[in-house]
Amino acid sequence: MGQVAASGTLDRRAVVKALLADRKDLLVVTGLGSASYDVMAAGDHDRNYYLWAAMGSAAMVGLGLASAQPRKPVLVLTGDGEMLMGLGSLATIALRKPTNLTIAVLDNGHFGETGMQASHAGRGIALERVAEACGFSWSGAVEDMAGVGALRKRIEDRGGLAFAAIKITAENPPRVLPPRDGVYVKNRFRAALGHAPI
């Protein structure tokens, strides 16, 4: 009661645009809500998979994809609320340690989609320390655009399982809605990797 929830200073759209510009063979999975809108705002792409449900699952979709496509970098972009719902998956992922997987949480310390209530992350739970405790090869907070640039390099290099809590401002930019047809997005993504529909 009365406490001020922490959030960062980075602009979420600028962060995501910088991570995805000239992305080469990057595969992207987005958690439902604002992270999906940010990725769509940066430009729709055949190698994006947008979740519209299954809250808490984004990191695990990333693990499955990274395990099946070990030579391509995989980036999960999600929010702190979505990550909190799948916190156990950080333990599961850390045991597997795919070197091509990065989980980047757009962390504003709030449940932005539902009225900007303070989240656990905004009330003192440092997600990057959870990932670190689980054994991620690299885990840290990203608080400026130089850090975003370094993270992008880390993603491209596929140098080890990474987790980033990117400290963004708590605001909701205009929604840019990705396609909601899950079958279409699935088949488009698979086709981009050379897999035919059934």
């Binding site: 595969l27 999975v29 998979y49 979740l51 519209w52 449900a53 299954a54 809250m55 808490g56 699952s57 984004a58 990191a59 695990m60 979709v61 990333g62 693990l63 499955g64 994809l65 990274a66 395990s67 099946a68 496509q69 799948g86 156990g88 998956s89 333990a91 599961t92 045991l95 597997r96 899950g182 079958v183 997005v185 699935k186 993504f189 698979r190 990797l193 050379g194 897999h195 059934i198």
Partner: protein, 178 residues
Amino acid sequence: MRASQGSRADAWQHDVYRVLKDAGVKHIVYVPDAGHSVAIRMAESDPGVQSVVLTTEEEDIGYLAGAWLGGERGALLMQSSGVGNCINTLALAACARFPLLMVVTMRGDWAEFNGWQNPMGQATEPALRLMGVMTWRADDPEDVAPLLHGAASMAFNGDAACALLLGQRLIGEKKWVK
């Protein structure tokens, strides 16, 4: 190898793994259960399979969706109590029509000592069906291989969610007091 009278009591457990391999499964994700112990051990020692232990069952739906996006097949091994943990997440399989193959060992189903297992055990099959998962059940060792083959076939040929329930009569009565 077919399970038949006079064969090892856990022959059907070997059938589970053989049928999954024959179906082209490259990923086995699981939350442990004694009824799956043979398949889990075989998966963990199989260099041709990525075996992934989960903290909770709903993790599997995202994992297997991701593996399929990347072009590979997988299957989930879990106990019936874990079906309850999956319910909301099953929307992913339903809305994107990901193939989803689940092998579920039953509790609260027959000769259950721990009544706390009964509510979820009794709700397992209807709950799966409510969420659009097709179900089959095996109580006889001879049914395990053909029913799992059928479920795998319909999952991967039909982009469908399919579950084989392994009944408590098949698994055997759990001895609580030895």
